[in-house]
């Protein structure tokens, strides 16, 4: 019997993600840096995901492919494209049906999503006008601390106190953090202030869609352990860990939709 494979490809602002599923679940996945051409990013991501699957070598071998993310409309070889909001909801639903609320922090936007019982979107709210609180913001912060992003993510876990930082604007927050560092304040306490400020912004966004437990985080920033701790404190809710890499949830949701279409 031939195995049917279904693909989802999420072209975000900083990375491209691909997930391949079959009846047995996730069989391949990848995360690649974004190229200028979204279609090229999609090809690279899909080819890398396919490499690990025996018996399938080409994108053409997929029974159905769905594109999502900002670059979704540029993936000409996809059978369909679906909004990343719907895909994140479906991806989370695939992982854990008891989760009802998502905060998705991508490279250039933040979304709050509430999920229906069938994995579709109930409501959503998004901030795509301001960099504060997005992946780009954390990258900028890590640069100021002269750390890579993963070291910065863990920095606040050692904080004894929290130094409040205004994250209303990423430019002003940068200035503020530079001043605080220059003032010889403990970096971990400043980092805790940064994480807390972002968590508060996410909280405001989630309030708009309603915070119904269980809550989870998706997107690249869901790997930021300092942020998860700050979010749990701000929401007074546990952030449920997912069984798969939270960064590929959008692509996973697209693959699940592809399976439904195929």
């Amino acid at each position: 019997m031939t195995i049917e494979y279904y693909g989802g490809c999420d072209i975000g602002s900083t990375t491209g993600k691909a997930v391949i599923i079959s009846d047995s679940g996730i069989v391949g996945s990848s995360i690649v840096p974004r190229e200028i051409d979204p279609e090229k990013t999609a090809v690279l991501a899909l080819e890398q995901a396919l490499k690990t699957i025996p018996g399938i070598s080409s994108i053409k071998d997929l029974s159905f492919l769905i594109g999502t993310g900002y670059g979704r409309s540029e993936i000409s070889f996809a059978g369909e494209n679906i909004s990343e909001i719907s895909c994140h909801a479906m991806g989370v639903y695939f992982c854990d049906r008891s989760i009802k609320t998502i905060v998705d922090i991508g490279g250039q936007d933040v979304k709050g999503i509430s999920i229906n019982d069938d994995g579709t979107v109930k409501e959503f709210a998004m901030n795509d006008k301001c960099a504060a609180g997005t992946g780009r913001f954390f990258e900028a912060m890590a640069r100021i601390f002269r750390m890579d992003i993963s070291a910065f993510s863990d920095l606040s876990l050692n904080a004894k106190n929290l130094i409040p930082v205004t994250a209303q604007c990423s430019v002003f927050a940068e200035t503020e953090v530079i001043s605080l560092l220059a003032g010889k304040n403990p970096p971990e306490n400043i980092a805790a202030g940064v994480q807390s400020a972002v968590a508060k912004r996410c909280f405001m966004l989630l309030k708009r869609v309603g915070i119904i437990p269980k809550v989870t985080m998706t997107g690249g920033c869901a790997k930021n352990r300092g942020l998860i701790k700050a979010m749990e404190k701000t929401l007074n809710e546990k952030i449920e860990p997912l069984s798969v890499d939270p960064q590929i949830i959008g692509a996973l949701g697209a693959a699940v939709y592809a399976k439904m279409r195929g």
Binding site: S83, I85, S86, T120, V121, E123, F124, K129, K207, G210
Partner: protein
């Protein structure tokens, strides 16, 4: 929806021609030299002259009677706007500037020529989306806070740039908001004409408030008689109120018909009609005539089983003033998703009629209309004023979803957004809150507004794009 038929093209071309003829007549009547002088004095006249762009925008995708209704309604707007402009040219000795919550019916009954300073900020962005931005910038350069509503900011900018006509008097009120009130400080300083401020009671749902407001209107009348050549003609006021009542009767008939699913007319044909004819030129025979024709067009469509939007899939309630600089929002939404705008907060009212049996009852009726107008009752008092209307309209007009034009400058309504979300969530009504600014395209662009619609329709309504 395909290309429009030859007949549809002819309908739009015909109305465009009529609009051009109206403008040509105005220019000839005024004389070419005076016209050039006044265009230099009031450069916004050039933006108004592009009104046929609005006709094009609002005709795209519309067919038959729906298209005719839009063209006819806009032609009426053009005619009355020209009459308004002629007040600046030829009746300046009788010109009175009045804020948008001050009843123009009384000014007309006094033989005065009304000019609403807010009017340019409402109508011009519909025609030229960025037309108010130079005035908004001028206001901010004067020190006006940037987060003030862009409509009063536009009024302030127009005033400080000396683009308001000189008037004999200015009438303003304590409605609808602090921003609106503050703009008249600039008008007062610049125009240097005597100013009268109507005190409209906050608690408006009782007879005491009506009596008080009627007293304020009497005080306004006698003040105007002291400061302008205007004299109240009570018989004329009665005629105006009766004419307004006739227009209200037609509007109620129209509402009855658009309650049907699918609706025979929709969107701007319904809501711009109310916005303009009830707020700017109510009580004129020509205004009633427009509503009479709208009713006829809707009746014909109903009789022949023709829907305004052939593929009506979703019925929307528009809340807050419409997205002025993307005024074709629903023309786009109709084509993309079959979304039909049935009713809006600026049109809906429950007390349309004025009792004309006595002078007192007329003033009380006019006052009641103002106090219960959307920008009054929705921005003051308990939140029930706001939400009772929303859920009443949803039920009465068989509405599927609420589109809130979330004008960033309106603090009063922004404050209610989260409560609105929660109430609609409980009631199972999907809500789209469009983040935008009423008349500043730089806050949220056209593309930004339309992508919010796309996200909502795709993710929440699970709608497929038709085109």
């Amino acid at each position: 929806m395909g290309k429009p038929s030859l007949k549809d093209t002819a309908i739009t071309s015909g109305y465009k021609m009529l609009n051009l003829m109206e403008m040509a007549k105005m220019s000839i009547k005024h004389g070419p030299f005076d016209m050039i002088r006044d265009i230099r004095r009031y450069p916004w006249l050039l933006d108004f002259a592009k009104v046929n762009r609005l006709v094009t925008k609002l005709s795209i995708g519309r067919r038959g009677n729906y298209r005719r209704a839009v063209g006819m309604m806009l032609n009426g707007v053009v005619k009355e706007m020209i009459n308004y402009i002629e007040g600046i040219f030829h009746r300046q000795d009788k010109l009175v500037l009045h804020e948008d919550m001050v009843p123009p019916e009384i000014l007309r009954a006094m033989g005065l020529s009304p000019w609403m300073p807010e009017l340019l900020g409402i109508i011009l962005p519909m025609i030229v989306p960025d037309s108010m931005e130079e005035y908004i910038d001028a206001a901010e350069n004067e020190g006006v806070p940037p987060d003030l509503c862009s409509l009063p900011k536009a009024v302030i900018g127009i005033t400080v740039k000396d683009r308001l006509p000189q008037a004999k008097a200015v009438i303003t009120s304590n409605l609808p908001c602090d921003g609106g009130m503050s703009s008249y400080i600039y008008v007062e300083k610049k125009i240097k004409a005597p100013i009268f401020r109507l005190d409209i009671p906050h608690n408006f749902k009782d007879e005491r408030a009506e009596i008080y407001f009627a007293g304020e209107l009497k005080r306004m009348i006698s003040w105007l008689e002291d400061h302008t050549p205007g004299r109240i003609d009570w018989d004329r006021l009665k005629e105006i109120c009766e004419e307004r009542n006739r227009m209200s009767e037609y509007e109620l008939q129209l509402w009855e018909m658009i309650s049907a699913r699918p609706a025979p007319l929709a969107a701007e044909a319904v809501y711009i009609s109310h916005l303009w004819y009830f707020n700017v030129c109510s009580g004129l025979k020509s205004s009633t005539q427009v509503f009479r024709r709208l009713v006829k067009l809707a009746e014909d469509n109903l009789k022949n089983g023709i829907a305004a939007v052939p593929d009506e899939k979703y019925r929307a309630l528009l809340w807050n003033p419409p997205t002025m600089h993307v005024i074709d929002l629903f023309a786009v939404a109709e084509e993309r998703y079959g979304v039909t705008c049935i009713m809006d907060s600026m049109s809906f009212n429950r007390l349309p009629f004025i009792d004309t049996s006595s002078r007192e009852s007329m003033l009380q009726g006019i006052g009641r209309n103002i106090m219960n107008g959307p920008m009054a009752r929705h921005t003051r008092g308990p939140m029930e004023n706001y939400f009772d209307d929303i859920f009443h309209i949803i039920k009465r007009f068989d509405i599927d979803m609420l589109w809130m034009a979330g004008h960033i400058g309106c603090k009063n309504t922004q404050a209610l957004n989260n409560i609105m979300r929660e109430k609609c969530r409980t009631a199972g009504v999907p809500v789209l809150i469009i983040d935008y600014d009423l008349s500043d395209t730089r806050i949220t662009s056209r593309q930004g507004i339309l992508s919010q619609v796309d996200h909502f329709m795709e993710n929440v309504m699970k709608a497929k794009r038709i085109i």
